[in-house]
């Protein structure tokens, strides 16, 4: 799910990078249009994956195995396979709403606004991240900061009234292969708050992508969340009706 977001991000950055040899303030409107078009292009791409998440915080260590389905930016479903205690716990996202299914009590809970700031499955990813992840191109304007033979460094600054908490986001995108390397998040004062590092680049079918993503909060250097894809398949042909509350409850 989050990985989908990143993939979209770096995909349109790819296009951006190709289109730009110089910093592009003069071509900002072109970039926006470009990004928008790219967005439209990825509507309808579906995926099915199996992944592992390892979380280390001050208070706990967790290791989860999950199965996930996604469709475009608006839909995904994740079900926990391991550990046994949490098997069957599932999260469904449809556009801006998030539900959790709890097999032990056989209930579906809709996540209210007050819980959106909370950690998803005890990781460094928040419920809010899941909902907001797909709005990056809408909420930010991008400029090229630097370019080396290996990578592009691109800065995203929030648009004036965008409802995002970050002051700026800096992307490092590798040139060959074209994969994201790192994303760094800053607060308004310019202090680094967290970073996401990508690794484990593989070729799956016709696509090349990093299979491992590590989230690191800056204030707590001993903590991290590592998300790793064991398997991933694309274009599996599911439709939006797959992402329903009934399916959320299915075992």
């Amino acid at each position: 799910m989050l990985f989908r977001a990143l993939r979209r991000r770096f995909s349109h950055l790819l296009v951006l990078a190709l289109a730009v040899a110089v910093p592009a303030p003069a071509r900002a409107t072109d970039l926006q249009q470009l990004i928008h078009d790219v967005e439209q292009q990825y509507m309808g791409v579906s995926s099915h994956s199996r992944m592992e998440m390892e979380v280390a915080t001050e208070h706990w260590q967790r290791h989860l195995t999950m199965e996930a389905w996604s469709l475009g930016r608006e839909y995904f479903l994740v079900r926990i396979l391991e550990p046994p205690k949490e098997r069957g716990v599932a999260t469904l996202k449809v556009q801006h709403e998030v539900w959790n299914y709890l097999p032990k009590v056989d209930r579906v809970i809709k996540v209210p606004p007050s819980m959106m700031g909370g950690a998803w499955m005890g990781s460094h990813i928040t419920n809010d991240d899941l909902v907001k992840a797909n709005h990056v191109d809408v909420d930010y304007t991008f400029t090229l900061l630097a370019e080396t033979p290996q990578l592009w460094r691109i800065q995203g600054l929030p648009k004036p009234d965008a409802p995002v908490v970050w002051g700026k986001i800096v992307y490092e995108v590798g040139k060959t292969p074209r994969v994201p390397l790192r994303i760094v998040y800053y607060d308004e004062a310019g202090a680094q708050v967290r970073q996401i590092v990508f690794s484990d680049v593989r070729k799956i079918g016709s696509r090349t992508l990093p299979l491992t993503m590590t989230v690191q909060p800056t204030d707590k250097p001993d903590e991290h969340t590592v998300l790793h894809y064991d398997t991933i398949d694309f274009d599996i042909g599911i439709k939006t009706d797959y992402f329903s509350l009934q399916n959320l409850k299915a075992r």
Binding site: H59, R62, E86, K104, R107, I109, P112, S123
Partner: protein
Amino acid sequence: MLLRLALRNIWRNRRRSLLTISAMVVSSSLLILALGVFSGMLADILSSATEQYYGHLVVSRAGYLDDHDLFDAFVPEGDLLGHLRQSPGVLGASPRLRAFGLVSRGQNTYPAELLGVVPAEERQVTNLETHLVAGSYLAPGADAGALLGRGLAAKLGVHPGDELVVVTQAADGSIGNDLLTVRGVFATGDTGHDNGLVLVDLPWLQRLMVLPGQIHEVAVRLKEPLQAARIAAALTPTLPDHLTAVGWESLLPEMREAIASFDVSRMIIVLILYFATGLGILNTFFMSVMERTREFGVLMAIGMRPWRIRLLVLLETLAMGLCSLVAGVGLGLLLSLYMARHGIDLSGSITPITYAGGTLPPRLHAVLETSNVVLPAVLLLVVCLLAGFLPANRAAKLRPVEALREE
């Protein structure tokens, strides 16, 4: 000898003495009653703030009480609870675990505070049981169920016997979730608790939160709640290093200020009352001296020194004061006892109200306290002496010759 003379003088003019004494008796007894009612109000305020939820004194990790951090839990080592229960002045100690999560029924989901307690022990420290409006208290044992506030129950649409879903983030990062049966509904008048507090079984919560054997705090009930700060300070050194004891004064600083301002108004009232009383009996004393001018003249003529005359008058006033004191205290105690047992119920016109973090039940009643009796008694004697001072002086300053001429 002087004393005997004083007593005989009093007896001689029985009616007047009786009048004076009765005035003093009524004043002192009413004052004892008034102070008792004040104490009653104060006790109500304090009790409402502490005995529904906080307890008089809390033992926890230092700093836990500021932010209620889930991870400040600890395992009570050795016989911490036993040690607390045996400490002087302690009436009960209840171990508790606290978590925040969501409670849900049907389509309704609301945030709530989950307080895990051992029902039998919590009963000895807090009195939520007396605020039940439906159902019953937590059942002992594994299926204890939940007790929730009226506002929350209404929003969720639950009644005793209904099932709730509880969802929270456990201490190991997993989603803690379980079903709970509602056992009872309480209404304390405090909107915070009525809309957000859920009382549950301690072992159940420990399992849900993955905090086996751990608690956040021990709430303690004291025999003398007003001494909580002192007792907490004395208790802390006897506890393991990572724990401290804190009295309600620190938990509810607003309450401390409320009580301080209350004491100020009480003092003002006491002064006003005694001022009125003093003036009232001043007349009587003056009368008794003026009437006996001739008699004093005789006494002086036969050789009694002025200072002895003064002392005589003062002894008379003091003797009357003592008499009134006994009767006044007796009557005052009786009245206070009545008010303590029965009181005046105002719930017809007033509902419970919040005051500096507590809730007051709508009634007037009295509490018997030694200071409420001793203070009026001592003041009465002081007022007597003061009221007797002027007349005594007057008597002492008489010139025997003129005095003898008086009728």
